[in-house]
Structure formats: structure tokens, C-alpha cells
């Protein structure tokens, strides 16, 4: 709204010119119109936040003009100007949604005051709307998180409740199969039909069991599956994966390796998720045609990674907040604000550390440590 302008509408040319000239001297961006009709056509093309309009005008008068403005541009504020003897027009204007009215003759300071107040009201409304949108987006995220959590609890409960009776069916079915397989039962009539039915039951038990075991997996936090992790290889894989994002901004990733191929014991799937997230952040933060540096070093029975971008950096007041859930500087809907929060959780789960340093205008550096999780024998 910074470049929004003021619109003065009055059919009396002298009065209008005088006011416009004096307002311009005070630094206001002003457009003028000599009647409501031409004012409306100006408003269709220009961004007008406050209208100062005379009430008595030939053609469309000020009150009808006000109604038009309010129906087409509800965010626009209107200050009405009345003749000295017709204050009642001003009052009915306020009832129709005008911000205020002034009586001729007009004191310029008074008018500027009113304009400033009207703009404050507009800004307040914008802030309130932004706040409402922000709160709504947070609420949506909370609902999604809670839904996921309760889905986890529910599915774990359902799976458990199903597994127990399923185990009974399983053993009962197995028992019958054993009985039918015994010598005594060799010659009973329709033995094949019974065998067939039992194997159908058995197959179905396996099917249900697969479902319940998957549900239980989903609701559990991931177990660390510790194996050899070749950090260099994982980084190269991640770079390949991000190739499209990199080429679209013409960004290079320079991997500086202080040691040769580093292998530690950790969970490769979780480390891959961390690398993907952190490197995507670096690409998003970088200006086009820049280089991202990744330094790998081997210390303290683990691996240190420094991911350096030359982007705009993070203001100090935000640096503490980046690991908080739902903190994002992106527009609503573009970022969940959960990326670094989840990443921090994963790294801590792997007994590692993450920290972020940044200088405004120079870029950010993300430092991560992954320890080797093999137990020494």
C-alpha cells in the first residue's frame, strides 16, 4: 500500500487546485477529479487508498459516489466534505461507511490529520487480515499434525485389537490342519474341501497380518537401522537428486573433501533425509549463479558437514527460531515451517548436532555432526 494515492474529488476548481497544491507541498501523492464519474474511472486504473470528496456535486453526488466506492473497493476509506450549513449530509455519509466528514472551510492540518487516521485504519485492517490468515494457516497445520498423531494412535490400537483375535484364528486354523493331516483322518470324506477352506483361511490371516504390522510400523517412531554410511556417496546422490533445482538457478555445488571417502555407522535413510532438506534450503537461499560449498571432515569418530550458501542470510532475531515448529518466512502454503524442526529431531535421534550461523547479506552456514554409532568392541 506504500504507493497508494490520495484522490481529491470536487467540482469547484479553485478550491480543488488550492487543496491539491498544498497537499503536494506536504509530500502527499495526490490525484484530482472534477466529478464522481471521472473519479471512478481513475480508481479503476490507479491504486487509491483514501478519497476526499465533496458531497454537493453535479451528476453523481458525494453520497452516491460513496456507495459506489464502498461496493467496488471496500478497503478504500472516504472523507466527505460538506458545505458549512449541511452537516446532516456528513452524518448520513458516516452511516453509509465514510471514515469521517469535514465542513468547509477546511483547515489543511485538520484534513491531513484525518487522512493519516484513515490510513492508520487501513493499515490496521491489513495487519489484522494478515494476522488472521497466519493464525488460520497455523490452525490448519496443527489440525494436520494432530490428525496424523491421532491416526497413529488409532491405527496402533486397531492393529493391536485385531492382532490378538487374529492370532487365535491362526492357531485354531493351524490346529485343524494338523488334525486333518494325521493318519486317522486320512480317509474322511471331502478332506480336500476342508483342506482347501483351511488354506484360504491361512492365506487371509497372512494378508490381515501384513496390514496390521504395517499400521503398527507407521505409528512407531522409526528405529535406527545402523549400517555403513558413505557420506561422500550420499552427498553425490543428493546433488544428483537436486540437479533440476540447481540448473534452474544455475547454482554449483562444490564439495570440499578434507579426507577421502568417509564411512561411519549410522542410519543412511535418515541421513539422506537430512542432506536433502539442508541442501534444498541452501539452494532456496542462494542467489542465482552462485556456488554452495560443502566441507566434509572426519573428527571425533564421526563426520562434520559444513554447508555454506551465499544467500541473503538470516536476521539474528530469526536465527533462534528456525528450529521451532511452524516457523517460516515463506508465504502461507509455501513452507510448512517443519523442515528444520524435523531435521533437528532426526539428527538428535542419531546422537548428532546441528547449528546455524548467518550474516545478513553474506549467507548462512549450516554445521552438522553425525557420530559413528557402531559400538566399539
Amino acid at each position: 500500500m506504500e504507493d497508494s494515492k490520495l484522490l481529491i474529488v470536487d467540482d469547484e476548481e479553485n478550491f480543488r487546485n488550492a487543496i491539491v497544491r498544498r497537499l503536494k507541498k506536504r509530500g502527499q501523492a495526490v490525484i484530482e477529479a472534477d466529478c464522481a464519474e471521472s473519479a471512478l474511472s481513475i480508481m479503476a486504473n490507479d491504486s487509491i487508498d483514501v478519497v476526499v470528496s465533496d458531497i454537493k456535486m453535479p451528476g453523481m453526488d458525494g453520497l452516491r459516489f460513496l456507495k459506489q466506492i464502498k461496493s467496488r473497493y471496500p478497503a478504500c476509506e472516504v472523507i466527505l466534505i460538506t458545505g458549512h450549513a449541511s452537516a446532516t449530509d456528513g452524518v448520513s455519509g458516516i452511516k453509509e461507511g465514510a471514515f469521517d466528514y469535514l465542513t468547509k472551510p477546511i483547515a489543511l492540518d485538520h484534513l491531513i490529520n484525518k487522512i493519516n487516521h484513515a490510513r492508520e485504519k487501513i493499515n490496521r485492517k491489513i495487519a489484522e487480515e494478515k494476522d488472521a490468515i497466519f493464525k488460520e494457516s497455523i490452525r490448519q497445520k496443527m489440525i494436520a499434525t494432530e490428525r496424523l498423531a491421532s491416526l497413529g494412535t488409532l491405527s496402533a490400537g486397531v492393529a493391536h485389537e485385531i492382532n490378538n483375535p487374529l492370532a487365535i484364528i491362526n492357531e485354531a486354523c493351524g490346529w485343524m490342519k494338523t488334525i486333518l493331516a494325521s493318519d486317522k483322518m486320512k480317509d474322511i470324506p471331502r478332506k480336500n474341501d476342508l483342506d482347501k477352506a483351511l488354506s484360504k483361511i491361512e492365506n487371509s490371516i497372512v494378508r490381515v497380518r501384513n496390514i496390521t504390522h504395517h499400521l503398527l510400523q507407521f505409528s512407531r517412531k522409526p528405529d535406527n537401522i545402523i549400517s555403513d554410511v558413505n557420506i561422500n556417496q550420499l552427498i553425490n546422490e543428493t546433488i544428483q537428486f537436486l540437479n533440476k533445482e540447481m540448473t534452474s538457478k544455475n547454482i554449483q555445488i562444490l564439495v570440499k573433501n578434507k579426507t577421502n571417502a568417509i564411512v561411519i555407522g549410522s542410519d543412511p535413510a535418515q541421513i539422506r533425509q537430512v542432506l536433502l532438506n539442508v541442501m534444498t534450503n541452501a539452494i532456496h537461499a542462494s542467489y542465482p549463479d552462485e556456488t554452495i560449498e560443502i566441507c566434509i571432515s572426519n573428527q571425533n569418530k564421526g563426520v562434520y558437514l559444513d554447508i555454506k550458501d551465499k544467500g541473503e542470510g538470516i536476521p539474528p532475531e530469526n536465527l533462534d527460531k528456525v528450529f521451532e515448529p511452524f516457523f517460516t518466512t515463506k508465504a502461507p502454503g509455501e513452507g510448512t515451517g517443519l523442515g528444520l524442526f524435523v531435521i533437528k529431531g532426526i539428527i538428535e535421534n542419531l546422537k548428532g548436532k546441528i547449528s546455524l550461523t548467518s550474516q545478513l547479506g553474506q549467507g548462512s552456514q549450516c554445521s552438522i555432526f553425525f557420530p559413528c554409532l557402531y559400538q566399539k568392541e
Binding site: A156, A159, H160, N163, N164, L166, A167, I168, I169, N170, E171, A172, G174, W175, T178, I179, S182, I205, R209, H213, L216, Q217, S219, R220, D223
Partner: protein, 146 residues
């Protein structure tokens, strides 16, 4: 071929499950005892010679892990296979650290259960055999033969 039945004790609060699995194991020529809680389980191992216990982890009163600790305190040679109907593989792994032989998720595959039962019994027999040999050596040494 004559196979010596494994003396199995089934511990689970789900009575239908205990009944069905014990009938199935009995049909497979195993010797089965059953208990519906930790207390009964401990009483049975006092009075009977049990090789392997199949123990449910989730029971009211004394839970599986507590029962396991008691079993291992009283009869450390009895092998325990834990059963879990829940996704609590972590608890089962904790149980193995406390001396349980292995664990299975409910409902379990019968062939795998039988393999684990055999392996558990074998481990118990091997251990008992080593103890016998050690005792025999001890006796010989005491009697001055060596």
C-alpha cells in the same frame, strides 16, 4: 525317528489363544503347560520341568518384562520366547537384553515358532550338557583321579 517333546509353558492372558496354540502344539507332539498370568507362570516353573516359555509381553498385573525378570532370577536356564501383539519391538529387544532367547510378533508363523522353539531347547540342552561335564570334571578332580 523318536523326538523328545519340548516342555513348553504358554503364558498369555488371552485364554482362547492359549487354548488354541496349546492344542496345536500338543497335536504336534509337544508337551504343553499353560498359564494366564505371570504369577501362575512362576508357580508352574516351580513344580514342573519346563524347557521353553512362550511369554506374552502385554498382560494385566505382572507384565511380560517383570515376569521375565522373575523367571531369569529363579530358573536362569529356562529359555523364553516373547510374543508381542503390539508394535513394541523395542520392549522385546529390551527383553532379549534381560536374557530372553528371541521374540515373535503376533500372529506368528507356526514354522518359525517351531524353529525358535527347537533352537531355544537346543541352547538349553547344550548349556545343561556343559554344566554336567563341568560337574563331572569337578567330581573326578575331588576324588583324585586326575
Amino acid at each position: 525317528m523318536i523326538t523328545i517333546p519340548i516342555n513348553i509353558l504358554l503364558v498369555d492372558d488371552e485364554k482362547d489363544f492359549v487354548e488354541m496354540l496349546s492344542l496345536r502344539l500338543t497335536e504336534n507332539k509337544e508337551s504343553v503347560f499353560s498359564a494366564s498370568n505371570g504369577k501362575e507362570c512362576l508357580e508352574i516353573i516351580e513344580k514342573n520341568s519346563i524347557d521353553v516359555i512362550i511369554l506374552d509381553l502385554k498382560m494385566p498385573g505382572m507384565d511380560g518384562i517383570q515376569t521375565l525378570k522373575e523367571i531369569k532370577a529363579r530358573s536362569p536356564l529356562i529359555e523364553v520366547i516373547m510374543l508381542t501383539g503390539h508394535g513394541t519391538a523395542e520392549t522385546a529387544v529390551d527383553g532379549m537384553k534381560l536374557g530372553a532367547f528371541d521374540y515373535l510378533l503376533k500372529p506368528c508363523d507356526f514354522d518359525i515358532l517351531m524353529q525358535k522353539l527347537d533352537a531355544a531347547r537346543k541352547r538349553k540342552e547344550d548349556q545343561e550338557e556343559r554344566i554336567r561335564q563341568a560337574e563331572a570334571k569337578l567330581l573326578l578332580r575331588r576324588s583324585g583321579v586326575i
